[in-house]
């Protein structure tokens, strides 16, 4: 079984990233969405800059609104995006 996690970026965050998704490999001790993103920022300056940008960000795990403390495991789909502005 793969230890990959898909991370999706939307809207202004997608533009700041210059791409709409990453496939990240989950290290053994990474248990939460927050930890996953924090580890990745250390090695990905684009992600670090994008997440440091202005405005709050929201997180969804497997298409459910969630937050950085949510558990993450192999096969999960994580999405990071600005507050939604539909309608």
């Amino acid at each position: 079984m793969s230890a990959d996690v898909t991370v999706l970026y939307f809207a202004a965050l997608r533009e700041r990233m210059g791409r709409s998704r990453d496939i990240l490999t989950l290290s053994e001790n990474t248990r939460t969405v927050g930890a996953l993103l924090m580890e990745r920022r250390k090695v990905d300056p684009t992600l670090d800059a994008a997440l440091s940008g202005p405005g709050t960000l929201r997180v969804a795990v497997n298409r459910q609104l969630s937050d950085l403390s949510a558990p993450v495991q192999a096969g999960d789909e994580v999405a990071v995006f600005p507050p939604m502005t539909g309608g």
Partner: protein, 149 residues
């Protein structure tokens, strides 16, 4: 079973046909409430581009519709949300709710559009005549309207 119809896509929709469908497929309807959102002009706005999270949009809208049906005893509801580039005057979103009585239908409509605005993964980018492109920021009053339900 109340009709729940959720459509997310680029196509235009026909409000008259959707209303007829809701009436045909729902029982005991005395009233249909609706809200139609359109691209509002002004300040040099030319178009909106709607981005969305495929899959999650449909999941969220279905869950909201189910909550509305249960909470307001709706006989049925339809939510259609367009994505892609839409010019000034074009329809963006349609909420239709059918119920035995008008208060339930109108409350259902308002609940759905209020909650959809900040709870469904759509994002609007404004495009102006001078070439500027600006992502719409979420409005505090929309967050309040959604939280009040």
């Amino acid at each position: 079973m109340p009709l729940i119809r959720i459509v997310v896509g680029e196509s235009a929709f026909d409000m008259g046909k959707e209303t007829a469908r809701l009436l045909t497929e729902s029982d005991g309807v005395g009233g249909v409430g609706s809200f139609l959102g359109v691209v509002r002009g002004g300040n040099g706005l030319v178009a909106l581009t709607l981005e969305h999270y495929p899959g999650m949009c449909e999941d969220v809208l279905t869950a909201l519709a189910q909550e509305a049906v249960a909470r307001f005893s709706l006989a049925g509801c339809i939510v259609i949300h367009r994505v892609g580039r839409l010019v000034v005057g074009e329809p963006i979103v349609l909420v239709l709710t059918a119920a035995a009585h008008r208060a339930a239908a109108l409350n259902g409509t308002r609940f759905l559009i209020d909650r959809l605005k900040t709870g469904a993964p759509f994002w609007k980018m404004e495009e102006f005549a001078d070439g500027r492109r600006v992502w719409v920021e979420s409005r505090a009053e929309d967050e309040v309207a959604a939280a009040n339900w």
